[in-house]
Symmetry: C2
Amino acid sequence: MLFAVGEDLHAVATARLRRVDQRYTSGRRVLVEALVEAGRPVTTAELVASRRELPQSTTYRNLAVLEQAGVVRRVLGTDELARFEVAEDLTGHHHHLVCVSCGAVEDFEPPRRVEQTLADAVGRLRTRTGFRAEAHRLDLLGTCGSCAE
Amino acid sequence: MLFAVGEDLHAVATARLRRVDQRYTSGRRVLVEALVEAGRPVTTAELVASRRELPQSTTYRNLAVLEQAGVVRRVLGTDELARFEVAEDLTGHHHHLVCVSCGAVEDFEPPRRVEQTLADAVGRLRTRTGFRAEAHRLDLLGTCGSCAE
DNA sequence: GATTGTAATAGGAACCGTTCTCGTTCTAGG
DNA sequence: CCTAGAACGAGAACGGTTCCTATTACAATC
């Protein structure tokens, strides 16, 4: 299940919110559109700044609602700021490049072979402490273009 | 360069701190020992609670110093709490199992093949945005033993 | 097309993990 | 020993995030 940016995305968002008894209001739609437009994980501050219709408190609340509904996902970088992106199954599985200098995060899709190896490892893992792996998270840490200059 | 838990570790800590003009004081030593004893990434709250000789402010300050000196490393889970562990080159390269339910983090060492694939990918990466990868971070997300019960 | 109950909104207060301040204590070097 | 600079520790301050609550929008029913 993978959607291009368009109407489908909003239809899925509507459905997923309904599953948890929530509405896909115009404010939430604006939020999702801002995330899509960014094309990379963005901080709440960036979101609030990007659209006048996004007051801080509503943005935080709606990000929480959308996260719970599985429409957006929280992303961790190296700094303490929370970043959000549209959920992976709506935009395609990918990983992140994290700048250790400024904290910026951008998307990146690894070679299929890497992906396959990781998926296998996750599938096989069952530790003696009873941990059950369900997904993997791979980040490459380094220096982004603007920090390298 | 890989050390068992023992005197060596403290010698290296001393040397690395000296490199950034810092001392390996008794308080800092207690901190490192608490981290070693934990054997997994722990929160500052856990550290402060674990030893009476670790007041909050000093713990935070010394974690920052030790991180800068390359003796400890900050680890991100899924919650907002900062967790710390002894730097990888002192304990061996490894990855983390992150419980999506309670946020707990434990160590885990992947099969050599996975590791090799990742190292290759990092080595090859150079995106058109100029990102330069230096390291990778692989976490397996799932449910820990006590949350699964 | 009013009514009415429920959900969403938005401003600001509160919260809490973290960082800073500053007076005190320690320590290495002279 | 003495002293200057480093480290310490208690508490204040900070800032990102969450919570509170009055207000507004919505959707279903009369």
